[in-house]
């Protein structure tokens, strides 16, 4: 399974939408549930991501607290389902911390993402 951010249609790749969200560890389950409700069939999670946000720095690793650190969740969905997913996540983030990035990508095996 491969993906690229080099734009849709390049190299004969199928256009898809990539949705990335960064949330606190304690909110990962909520995002996963919205993924599931939208029919998302797979995602990638990266725990302990660090960075600087509007409310300050976020430490990337903590020895004994998995919940306080941020997690990046990344999924790719067909374009026709992207709005549904984005709408669900926006509803979630209206009152919970989190950021979301949406971009167009191309994938070589679209059947994995349908």
């Amino acid at each position: 399974m491969t993906g690229t951010t080099s734009g849709t249609g390049r190299h004969g790749l199928s256009p898809m939408t990539k949705v990335e969200v960064v949330v606190r560890g304690e909110d990962v389950r909520a995002v996963e549930e919205v993924f599931a409700a939208t029919g998302v069939r797979g995602f990638t999670g990266v725990t302990g991501v660090s960075g600087l946000g509007h409310d300050g720095y976020h430490q990337g690793r903590l020895l004994f607290n998995d919940r306080a650190v941020l997690t990046l969740l990344l999924t790719v969905v067909p374009e026709e389902r992207a709005d549904t997913l984005i709408d669900g996540l926006r509803t979630l983030f209206e009152e919970r911390s989190g950021v979301m990035f949406v971009s167009d990508v191309g994938v070589s095996r679209p059947e994995y993402f349908r």
């Binding site: 606190r24 389950r29 909520a30 549930e33 919205v34 599931a36 409700a37 939208t38 029919g39 409310d55 300050g56 720095y57 976020h58 430490q59 903590l62 020895l63 004994f64 607290n65 998995d66 919940r67 306080a68 389902r81 709005d83 549904t84 997913l85 709408d87 669900g88 996540l89 509803t91 979630l92 209206e94 009152e95 919970r96 911390s97």
Partner: protein, 867 residues
């Protein structure tokens, strides 16, 4: 049996967008729910954790509007504490000045006798004597509540009763000897199928229920169709969730799909009932949200001023024009509903100033290496044992979270289900199992058979007893022995306990087992574990021949909340397995060699032995003694004697804290009386647990050694000189301190809001729904929080509800750096959930970190920023 309908993935033909939004809406609404844990792994948590993004005061007021739970003690209670001298005038003046952001010494007028009248005089008069309006009633925004307010119906009660019965039945399985039909359909579908035929319901209601959507998602969406926007829908859902917060929290723990099922039941029944009384249009209109008029008169600033002036013997004519303006502005900044928070701050101020004033401010004198060292859990109960053990002599003590850096899932030799033995903040990183020692396989197998016989008899008796029908059969079959046994357990609890322990030993003699971390943990993982434990505490530098790694647990009888008395850092379990693993790792030659290469040197003649402190009896059991080399047997015997003396002294100390005070007899009888509580099945107060907890000290033992902290303080060892980068401090603040804050908040809210966030009296508790929790009496909501006997006795509160003060001996700049890079700490310190005091070393004065991150000296009269 499945609790809920098939997981909320999309169905063919389902509206994916609507489903995703519904899941997100429910999840968002449920963020206000307290976290619920099953009884066997009761974990203390902050019931207002969902509000920690807000300042403590705002969170408290928001929660009050939602749950009806008071965020502080009532003002009259604080006033009594003030009258009794527990809250001093100075503390009150400091707290109110801090709250209004003005110097309380500002002169605003003059008294008739010519003495100046200050801002502080009037603010304090308002606090001590001002009118206290009744709290505004909670205006629940469910349709049922609106209907009840409008028509005087009892729709809300009907919905709650139906919902709680069905959740209890489904979570607990067989209930009352009767299986609800179609369990496999899930909560909503099962209920809908049964209710459509329920003759207790009016025909019109049954018809509406039968016509309701069959799918819980569709039903819930239909129940939200009157909501103009997400905000209205979210508020509506939240009020349904907090109507029975115990059951809702339990379902939240299982996932949003369980909550959707539950909410679908509630809103569908509510809708049907409201419709049949003809109120649907009115309660779904915007005006339906109107709160009934609050009949209490508003206490305005001028009224408060007039009252305060009268109290100090002055009139408005005694104020200067500027002074009048000044005081009215101060009242604006301190509305009446915020006054209790000033009282809370004043209450905390007294304790905190006394604590900091009592800590040692001198460098410790050099002393010879002790024969023993001992590291205990940070739990405040360890403070008492450490203090007494040190006074016995030749022991240096340390503090570390009681999981001892072993984030494991543990399976005992009996092969039961593996359970997490680490703080819930972390996922277990390894599975470790207890195994027979070499040459002890047959003996362990025999012991396990004995253990199963004993456990089977015990479980069988209690399962039959807890069942609704079982007791009748049990009385027939076992009454002849149960009756005399009950008499023995009641009238001679101590003797019964000794006999039972002896019988247990006969059936289950001490097995020669061990935990072999080398089979599950890589060498690197073991070295990391050892390094974190040693360098955070400085344990290896004590120079002791024998080092005790001591977990804790609590032995109690007939106590559904027993795991609340066990080790929170071990996931609500006894701490022995973690202590055994840590000791085993620290004794391994390869680990020592690797540590040595990293500059962490453990003397060759040092042996680590695991132990467990029983906090109900203050006895310490040394574990895995069959592994101790001959060279250290005498040290073991010596340590055991010292632990025995310390434990007895601590038991005598604790005896004074039980209702009625200590028995008027010698120490031996007093100790026996304390230990009898542990085996008395009628005893609702086997020990006080962590009641009184109020502070968390991070620093060397020299800071607190010899100071009686009253078993109220979490103690974590920390050597700032060995942690220039702040890594150890970061670990302590982001993990053990967070757990301590949860515990602190659990005790706090169980005390100030016992009816909502406390579990009520144990006397009427019934364990329900398997071991999901307890209900008071025959039914109703699942109880949240701690039982009353954990925080009070009779009608009196024993636990002082104070927020946690974290005290650190480290450079403030290092503390700032750690806080600034961790949102969890910015949130807790910045929103006032935890206070922070620090000093760089013994020669420095204590400073307090304000919520905005600036520091000031602890002395309340000096509000100058220092850095």
């Amino acid at each position: 049996m499945s609790l809920v309908a098939p997981a909320l993935g999309p169905d063919a033909g389902d509206d994916l967008g609507a489903t995703a939004r519904l899941v997100a809406l429910v999840r968002r609404a449920a963020a206000v729910l307290p976290t619920s844990w099953p009884l066997e792994t009761f974990i203390a948590t902050n019931p207002l954790a969902g509000f920690e993004d807000l300042p403590f005061e705002e969170a408290g007021l928001r929660a009050h509007g939602l749950f009806g739970a008071a965020p502080t003690l009532p003002e009259p209670t604080y006033r009594r504490l003030h009258a009794a001298g527990t809250i001093s005038d100075d503390a009150l003046r400091w707290a109110v000045g801090d709250a209004v952001g003005s110097a309380t010494g500002t002169v605003v007028g003059s008294r008739p006798q010519g003495r100046p009248l200050t801002l502080g005089d009037l603010l304090v008069a308002d606090l001590v004597h001002g009118r206290v309006p009744a709290p505004a009633p909670v205006a629940a925004q469910t349709l049922a509540a609106r209907c009840d307010r409008l028509l005087g119906t009892e729709v809300g009660r009907s919905v709650d009763e139906e919902a709680s019965w069905w959740v209890a039945a489904l979570v607990g399985g067989r209930s009352g000897g009767w299986d609800p039909p179609d369990l496999d359909l899930g909560l909503y579908r099962s209920w809908r199928a049964a209710s459509g035929l329920d003759r207790r319901l009016p025909r019109a209601v049954r018809r509406l229920l039968t016509a309701a959507p069959a799918d819980p998602r569709h039903a819930l969406r239909a129940g939200l169709d009157w909501c103009a926007d997400d905000t209205t829908a979210g508020t509506f859902l939240q009020h349904h969730l907090v109507a029975l917060p115990g059951w809702a929290s339990l379902l939240h723990h299982r996932g949003t799909d369980a909550l959707v099922d539950y909410l679908a039941l509630r809103v569908t029944l509510e809708r049907a009932l409201v419709t049949t009384v003809g109120a649907l249009d009115r309660v779904t209109a915007a005006s339906g949200a109107l709160v009934p008029p609050h009949t209490e008169p508003v206490v305005t600033g001028p009224v408060r001023l007039a009252d305060a002036l009268a109290r100090v013997g002055a009139t408005g004519a005694d104020l200067t024009p500027d002074g009048r303006q000044h005081i009215l502005e101060a009242f604006d900044r301190l509305p009446v509903d915020r006054r209790p928070f000033v009282w809370l701050a004043a209450h905390e101020r007294g304790y905190r100033s006394a604590l900091l004033g009592g800590l040692r401010s001198t460098e410790p004198a050099p002393r010879p290496a002790p024969r023993h060292a001992a590291v205990f859990c940070i739990d405040p109960r360890s403070e008492g044992l450490r203090r007494h053990l040190e006074s016995v002599g030749d022991v240096a003590t340390f503090g570390f979270a009681g999981f001892f850096a072993v984030a494991m899932a543990y399976q005992d030799a009996a092969g039961g289900e593996a359970t997490p033995r680490c703080p819930v903040l972390v996922e277990p990183r390894v599975l470790l199992g207890e195994r027979p020692s070499d040459g002890a396989v047959e003996r362990v197998a025999r012991d396990l058979r004995g253990r199963r016989v004993a456990a089977g008899a015990h479980d069988g008796f209690h399962e039959a007893k807890d069942d609704l029908v079982g007791p009748y059969a049990l009385a027939d079959a076992g009454g002849w022995v149960a009756g005399p046994l009950a008499v023995a357990r009641t009238l001679a609890a101590g003797t019964y306990g000794r006999v039972r322990a002896a019988a247990g030993r006969a059936l289950v003699p001490g097995s020669a087992t061990e935990l072999t971390p080398g089979l599950s943990l890589t060498l690197d993982e073991q070295v990391l574990l050892a390094r974190v434990l040693l360098t955070s505490t400085g344990l290896h530098q004590a120079g002791a021949r024998l080092v005790l790694v001591c977990g804790h647990g609590s032995t109690t009888e007939n106590n559904p909340y027993r795991s609340a008395l066990d080790c929170g850092a071990c996931g609500g379990h006894r701490g022995a397995p973690n202590a055994r693993v840590a000791a085993a790792v620290l004794n391994r030659e390869e680990v020592r060699r690797n540590l040595d290469e990293r500059g962490v040197v453990v003397a060759d003649d040092t042996w680590f032995v695991a132990g467990e402190h029983d906090t109900a009896t203050d006895e310490v059991t040394l574990l895995d003694q069959h592994l101790v080399p001959v060279s250290h047997r005498a040290d073991i015997d010596d340590l055991q004697r010292r632990l025995g003396s310390a434990g007895r002294a601590l038991a005598v100390e604790r005896a004074g804290a039980f209702p009625g005070g200590p028995p008027r007899s010698g120490p031996r009888r007093t100790v026996a009386a304390v230990r009898r509580r542990s085996v008395d099945w009628a005893q609702v107060l086997p020990e006080w647990g962590l009641a009184g907890n109020a502070a968390f000290v991070i620093g060397p033992r020299s800071l607190t050694e010899g100071v009686d902290l009253g078993r109220r303080v979490f103690l974590h060892s920390y050597d700032a000189e060995a942690d220039a980068g702040g890594d150890a401090l970061e670990t302590i603040l982001t993990a053990p301190m967070v757990v301590a804050q949860w515990i602190n908040c659990q005790y706090y809210f169980s005390s100030v809001a016992p009816d909502v966030f406390g579990a009520g009296t144990k006397v009427v508790h019934n364990v329900t729904a398997g071991s999901a929790g307890v209900v008071a009496g025959p039914g109703g909501d699942l109880c949240l929080g701690l039982p009353w006997q954990s925080v009070g006795w009779g009608g009196e509160l024993v636990h002082e509800p104070l927020r946690l003060l974290t005290v650190v001996e480290a450079p403030p700049a290092r503390i700032d750096a750690v806080v600034e890079r961790n949102q969890v700490l910015r949130r807790l310190f910045g929103n006032g959930w935890v206070a922070l005091a620090a000093r760089e070393g013994p020669d420095d004065s204590w400073h307090e970190r304000r919520r905005d991150g600036t520091w000031r000296t602890w002395d309340g009269s000096d509000l100058q920023e220092e850095s």
